[in-house]
Symmetry: C2
Subunit: 426 residues, 2 copies
C-alpha cells in the first residue's frame, strides 16, 4: 500500500475534470488504485505512510496509441512530402536498417528512453518486418517496466525489395513474439499486436491470414486508415470490391473483430464511420502527423458525437515530436481550424476533452488505465510546474499551462501499474 | 573585431540555405559583420583571435514581429474563445492591471527574460495604454541590450472603462516615450512604434491623429488586420465608407505611409492585398495564434507570390508560446493544411522559407538584421544540438531537427548587434 499526497487531477469523463487540491491517492501493492480522497479517513492507519509531494500536480500518465519505433532516427526530419512519396523516399529505407540487430538495439534504446522522458507509459507501437529487432524492442519495454502493444509489421506488396515479408513469416514472427512475451513478460504489460502496415502493403492472402490469426488468438489489431486522398484512391483501385477503405480490413476480420486501432481517419465518413462505430474500432487521431504530411484534418468532433472511440497518437516520425502534450495542443488547434472552416458547425475540442483522450480514452485499450478511479492501474506523472506558477493560477489553469507550455523537464516521477519507472539506459 | 568559428547557417534568400561547415564569421567592433569565410584569408592577422565553438551551430537570432507583452501572464491559458469574446473576457481585464507600475515591472521582467530565453533578439511589442508601464518595458529592453519596437496602445472606443485613453493621451505618451528613448537609448536599439490596437478600438479622430503623428515623426506603425470573420464584419459596420479593412487604416496614413506591420491577415485578399503590396505593408503571420483562436489559415504562399513582405509573430498570449521555433513549425503545418484543403493548389512553405521569415524577413523591419551577409548587424544564436545529433545527420538535417525538436535549452549564447546578451534579471 502506498499513499501519495499532491494536487490530483484526472478526467473520469471527457467534460469532467476532477481536481483534488492536496488530495490523497491510495495505491494497493498490486498497483491498483484503492481510491482518491480529499481527507484520509480517520480510522485508517495510513497517516504515517503518506508520501507528500507538496504543491506538485499528479496526473495520469500519457498513452500514445500510434507510434513507429523504427522511424525514431527520422523524427523532426524529412517532412517535405505527402504520405506515399514520404514512405518510399524516407521511411522505407530507414526501416530496412532494422535487419541489423545492433542498429535496432541502438535506436530502440533511444526510442524507449524518449517515451519515458515524455511521460508516455503505454503505447501501441509499429516495429518493422524483422522479428529479431522487434523482440529487442519488446525486451527493452520489459526492462523499462512500461506497457506496450508491439507489432511485427506485415507487408508483402508495393514495398521495396528488402522490406517485405511473406504471410508465413509474419505469422511465424507473431507466434514467436507471443511465445517470448508469455515466457518473459508474465505480467502482460507488453503484448503483441497484429500489424498489417496498411491495405496497399498487404496482399489479400496476408490480410486473410492475419484476420484468421486474430480470431484464433484474440490478439488486437493496429493499422492505418483513410489518411490522405491519394492513398484512399489507391486502395479503391487495389480493392475494387471493398465498399470503403475500412471494409477492406473488415472483410478479413481486421476491423473490430478483436480490439482494433486505426490511425488517422482524416476522411472517414458515412459507411466507414458507421462500421467503426458498430465494431468498436478506435480512431487514433494523429493531428501533428496529419499536418506534417499535408494529410488533412480528421473530423474528431463528428466521431465523438457518433460514439466512436478516439485516442491520440504522435505517429512519429510523421509526427515530429514524441510529446503527448504537443499532440493534445494540435488536437485542439486542428479542431479549431476545422471550426473556423465550417463556420462553427463542429464545436472544437476542449482542454478537458483532449486530456481525457490522452489519458483515459487511450488507456482503455490497455484495460483500466488512464484514470485515477478505484480499480484503475496506477499510471501517473508527478509534475513540477513551479516555474510556471508565479501568479495566482488555479489548479485547472496550472494544468492548462502545463499542457500548453510544459515539457519533459517538468516530469519528476513516472509510475506504471503502481511501480515507479526509473530512467532506462539510452 | 571578433571571429567566431562554428557551423554557420543562414538564408540570404528564402530558398537559399547557406551552410558553411566549420566556417568563420568576422564581426567588427561596431557589431556589423565583415564577412563569412570557409577559410580565414591567409594574410589576415586573425588566426589567434578565433573563438572556436567546435561543432555547434551558429544561426541568426529570431525576430518576433507581433507579441503582446502585457498578456504574458495569460500565456498558455484561456484559449477557449474566439477573438472578440477572448479580448473582453481574458485580455482586457489583464491589461488593465498595468496601471500598477509594480505589477508591470514584475511581469515585464519575466516577459523580457522569456524573449531572451527563446533566442528572440528583436521584437515588435504591444504594451498597454499606460505610459509608465510601457516606459518600464522599454527600460527593461535597454538594460537587456535587446532590440525592440514598443508601442503604447491607442484605444478609445468599444473597450472597457478603465482601458481607454484619449487621442491626446496616446500622442502625449508616444512623445514622452520617444523623448525617453532618445535620451536613454542612444543606440536606437529600442524605438517607439505607433500602435492603434485595431480599427474597432480606435475612433476616426484617434486614427487620424496617429496617422498625422506618423507622417510628422516618420515612426513606424503596428496593428491588427483581418484576423477573423466576426471582426471583419464589425469593421464593415464601423467603417462603412472604407472599401476594405485595410483601407480603414490607409485613409488615415497608417498603412505603409511609414513602415507598417499588420498582424494576421487571415482573410486578406483582392483590394486589401494589392494595397499591402503597393504600400509595402508587412503581413505578420501568427499561425499559432490563428489556430488557438479559431481565426483561420492565412494564405501566406499567395502573399509571397504577390511580393508582399511576410514576417512571423508569436502573438502571445493568443499564441501560447514565445518560441519562434514553434511559430516556424506552425507556419509550415498550417500551409500544409491549406495545401491539403486546396488539393495542392498552393504549395506549402519549406523549412528554408520559414527560417528566412523568422530571421531575415522579420529582421528587415529593424534594418540590416537577420542574416550573416556583410554589413548586417551580428544577431546570432549558438546552438548545441549534440543530444539530437547521435547519427550521421547532415548540417541541413541538424538545423531541421533543431527547428522541429529543439528548445531554449539548446541555446548556449545569444548576440544582438555584436554584443553577447547575458541573462536578464527575472
Amino acid at each position: 500500500m502506498k499513499i501519495y499526497r499532491a494536487n490530483i487531477i484526472y478526467t473520469p469523463s471527457p467534460k469532467q475534470l476532477e481536481i483534488i487540491e492536496h488530495g490523497y491517492i491510495v495505491v494497493r501493492s498490486n498497483g491498483l488504485i484503492e481510491g482518491v480522497y480529499r481527507e484520509l479517513p480517520e480510522n485508517m492507519d495510513w497517516r504515517n505512510q503518506v508520501i507528500d509531494f507538496g504543491d506538485r500536480l499528479l496526473i495520469p500518465a500519457f498513452n500514445d496509441l500510434h507510434v513507429h519505433a523504427p522511424q525514431y532516427r527520422n523524427m523532426g526530419l524529412a517532412l517535405d512530402l505527402e504520405l506515399l512519396p514520404w514512405l518510399n523516399t524516407y521511411t522505407f529505407p530507414e526501416e530496412m536498417k532494422y535487419r541489423d540487430a545492433d542498429y535496432a538495439r541502438r535506436m530502440y534504446r533511444r526510442f524507449v528512453h524518449e517515451l519515458w522522458m515524455q511521460g508516455t507509459m503505454r503505447s501501441a507501437v509499429f516495429g518493422t518486418i524483422h522479428y529479431e529487432a522487434t523482440r529487442i524492442l519488446a525486451d527493452l519495454f520489459l526492462q523499462a517496466g512500461m506497457g506496450a502493444y508491439i507489432g511485427i509489421v506485415g507487408m508483402n506488396r508495393n514495398s521495396p525489395e528488402g522490406l517485405q515479408n511473406t504471410t508465413e513469416e509474419v505469422i511465424e514472427g507473431l507466434k514467436m513474439l507471443k511465445g517470448h512475451l508469455e515466457e518473459h513478460g508474465k505480467s502482460g504489460l507488453v503484448q503483441p499486436i497484429i500489424t498489417p502496415r496498411f491495405v496497399p502493403s498487404c496482399s489479400d492472402k496476408m490480410l486473410r491470414a492475419l484476420g484468421e490469426f486474430a480470431q484464433e488468438t484474440g490478439l488486437p489489431v493496429q493499422s492505418h486508415l483513410s489518411e490522405n486522398r491519394s492513398e484512399i484512391d489507391w486502395v479503391k483501385q487495389l480493392e475494387p470490391e471493398a465498399t470503403c477503405y475500412g471494409d477492406a480490413y473488415n472483410k478479413y476480420g481486421l476491423f473490430g473483430q478483436t480490439p482494433t486501432l486505426m490511425a488517422h481517419c482524416c476522411y472517414t465518413d458515412g459507411e466507414e464511420m458507421e462500421l467503426m462505430r458498430k465494431n468498436g474500432v478506435y480512431v487514433v487521431h494523429c493531428p501533428m502527423s496529419n499536418s506534417n504530411l499535408s494529410s488533412g484534418m480528421a473530423p474528431i468532433r463528428k466521431f465523438l458525437n457518433a460514439g466512436i472511440h478516439v485516442a491520440l497518437g504522435t505517429d512519429v516520425s510523421a509526427g515530429h515530436n514524441m510529446s503527448m502534450l504537443r499532440v493534445m495542443q494540435y488536437a485542439i488547434q486542428v479542431s479549431k481550424l476545422n471550426y473556423a472552416q465550417t463556420r462553427g458547425e463542429m464545436p472544437f475540442l476542449t482542454l478537458s476533452e483532449v486530456f481525457y483522450l490522452a489519458t483515459k480514452a487511450g488507456g482503455s485499450f490497455f484495460g483500466k488505465v488512464g484514470s485515477f478511479e478505484a480499480g484503475y492501474e496506477f499510471d501517473a506523472l508527478l509534475i513540477d510546474d513551479s516555474y510556471l506558477n508565479y501568479d495566482n493560477y488555479s489548479l485547472e489553469q496550472r494544468l492548462e499551462r502545463y499542457i500548453y507550455l510544459g515539457d519533459d523537464r517538468d516530469i519528476k516521477r513516472r509510475y506504471c501499474r503502481g511501480e515507479e519507472i526509473n530512467e532506462p539506459a539510452c
